[in-house]
Amino acid sequence: MNWRAVVPGFGFAALALVPLAARWGPEAYALNLATRALIFALAAMSLQFMLGCGGLVSFGQAAYLGLGAYAAAILARYGGGDLLLEAGTAIPAAALFAVATSAISLRAKGVYYIMSTLAFGQMLYFFFVSLSALGGDDGVTLDARARLAGTDWLASDRAFYYAALAALALGYLLLDRIVGSRFGRVLGAIRQNPLRVRALGFEPFRYQLAACAISAALCAVAGVLLANLNSFVSPAFMTWQRSGDLIVMTVLGGVGSLGGAILGALAYLLASELVSTYTEHSGLWIGPALVLVALRGRGLAGLVWGGR
């Protein structure tokens, strides 16, 4: 065993202890905050897979978050409110949307790619804003949290925290395996030198398309969890600023490192919450902090692990 395997193990073990620590504090608040942080960590990690491992800067990641959330809301409304069913619906829906839109986006390179993902994200946002059947801009309230395989375990905030943690850990293991697989090796090679990859006989398009689908699927799971955490879904989940937030979390943590994305999401959300507890002008503090991290480069992972 090497330290690269040990560190994430300790990290997840520490996260598993949070609910125990929360019992001494304002439990529901702490759990809500921590669960939200885990969910965004999952979303940021899904973006990291595309952006850090595949070199695809998606500015529309929040669209998948929203798709997952609306899948949960729609199923909950028609009585299919089981977490497994919701995830089982959200995953193919998001993957399909990702494949359809990325097939167009991937034709464009660099800034053009970034902007076309943004355009598709905005389209979906406006679609849900104008969809009166689901409350439009006001969003839609879920009557109850989803069941899990027929049981109502998830009704407890603590159990829901562990469900989110399990999703995050599974997502981490899955992506870690994919990054190290033959597929991941091609993807990493495309990020470094696409021309060379083609000269070896690979078509980058197919690999990048698959990466988009995987990333979207995982992000949609985060969306399902977010919908159930708040029992509420609205288009505000999928604004372009949200996509920007996710990029910030990912870059903050350190580009290319899955663990870094988790760290970045936790740090960004907790710091925002903390600062806004003390001042109404949180932008005056968070903004310069982000600038400083950017000027230093390599994100927080760079500070903690000392490089990529």
Binding site: P26, Y29, G136, T141, G259, A267
Partner: protein
């Protein structure tokens, strides 16, 4: 990772300062929007409430008032976390807020399921007025449709043959036009929905000029309203009566100025309301914050007065929730708008007025009452509410 763990622990310790509420103290958690363009509305609510508490000597119902203000950033999921923080960390007895209805949808359940009361000084959606009404949820503003109904009624009474409707394409916009159409039976010249956040209305203005309606009705809050009103005046369309809700009020008038003068609106109050408590409030607010208060500030002020009266009636015992609820429901306080009482669904029954924008002698702008359109008007959803 070890280092980041210690960072997390430190963060956790900082984020949970908490502590139970002390005896003889009442804790109020206020959740309003304080970032982005709508921050001005949240600011009015915060200031209006603070003004009332100051007038009461820093006390509510004789108890020392401790007020925690948080910003929902207009993001529903963030609002839920913030509200949980108010409830669990700060142990507030009342949650006052929010400004916007989508935030209300997100926080209603967590607050009403807790031991605190939720009092909305602005957002009042139809679902919580009807079937989903809740014993622990009160609204001190109005049911959202009512303001639009005022203008629909006015247009109908005035005998306008046709109206051109304009609203942003989101839920509140669609509700607004429905509210207007509930009372107005004339011809709808056109019904136009613009994308949320649209800045330039010249395309719509040209359409209005081409349609030549008897009146224009619009709901265009915030910066959109500022732009629309200025552009409407610049396009020389002011010969067509301009009826609007949340488009010209004291939060937007400093930017709209002369362009808005003469525009008609519907409201439950205006700064020139002729009663002593209202006059004193407007004077104090202007002295303290240098701006003319809008209904947001008025409703927040009334909210503080409502809480004050309820604690007093319940004998200062915050733990007796049933007594407190009954006292709240009585609404036994002197409202700035004169008469005020709650309907069975905990939404107010009150008068509504047609207002008109005017320039005051001191050069500032405000809305002024033209005539009363509805008297003791309750909303139509109350009959669906199971509360008695």
């Amino acid at each position: 990772m070890k280092r980041c763990l210690s960072v997390l622990t430190a963060l956790a310790a900082l984020a949970f300062p908490g502590g139970a509420s002390a005896e003889g103290k009442v804790k109020i958690g206020m959740i309003v929007t304080l970032s982005g363009p709508p921050a001005v509305l949240g600011g009015q609510i915060r200031d209006g409430f603070a003004l009332a508490v100051k007038k009461l000597g820093g006390k509510l119902g004789g108890l020392d008032a401790d007020i925690v203000v948080v910003d929902d950033q207009l993001k529903p999921d963030i609002a839920v976390t913030k509200v949980k923080g108010l409830l669990e960390r700060d142990h507030v007895d009342f949650v006052v807020g929010p400004v916007f209805s989508n935030i209300l949808q997100a926080i209603e359940k967590p607050v009403t399921a807790s031991s605190a009361f939720l009092i909305s000084p602005n957002a009042g959606t139809s679902n919580f007025a009807g079937k989903q009404c809740n014993a622990n949820f009160f609204v001190t503003s109005y049911q959202n449709d009512q303001v639009h109904e005022v203008l629909g009624k006015y247009a109908q009474d005035k005998g306008y043959k046709s109206a051109f409707l304009l609203a942003p394409n989101y839920q509140a916009g669609r509700d607004a036009l429905d509210g207007f159409k509930k009372q107005f039976k004339g011809r709808i010249a056109d019904e136009v929905y613009t994308p949320l956040g649209q800045l330039d209305f010249s395309a719509e203005l040209a359409k209005i000029a081409a349609d030549k309606p008897d009146a224009v009705f619009t709901f265009m809050p915030g910066g959109m309203g500022v732009n629309l009103v200025k552009q409407y005046a610049q396009a020389g369309l002011k010969t067509i009566p301009f009826l609007s809700a949340f488009t010209t009020d004291e939060s937007t008038l400093p930017a709209q100025k002369d362009a808005a003068v003469g525009d008609l609106g519907g409201a439950n109050w205006a700064p020139d309301m002729d009663n002593p408590q209202s006059k004193a409030f407007v004077a104090a607010y202007e002295a303290a914050y240098g701006a003319v208060p809008a209904t947001y500030a008025m409703q927040a002020y009334d909210t503080a007065m409502l809480i004050d009266s309820a604690i007093r009636t319940a004998g200062g015992k915050l733990s007796d929730r049933d007594a407190l609820r009954a006292a709240l429901k009585k609404g036994d306080f002197v409202s700035l708008r004169g008469g005020f009482k709650f309907s069975t669904n905990h939404y107010p029954i009150q008068d509504f007025y047609l207002t008109k924008v005017a320039k005051r002698a001191d050069g500032k702008y405000e809305t002024e009452i033209v005539e009363r359109v509805f008297k003791d008007y309750g909303d139509s959803y109350a009959k669906d509410c199971p509360l008695k």
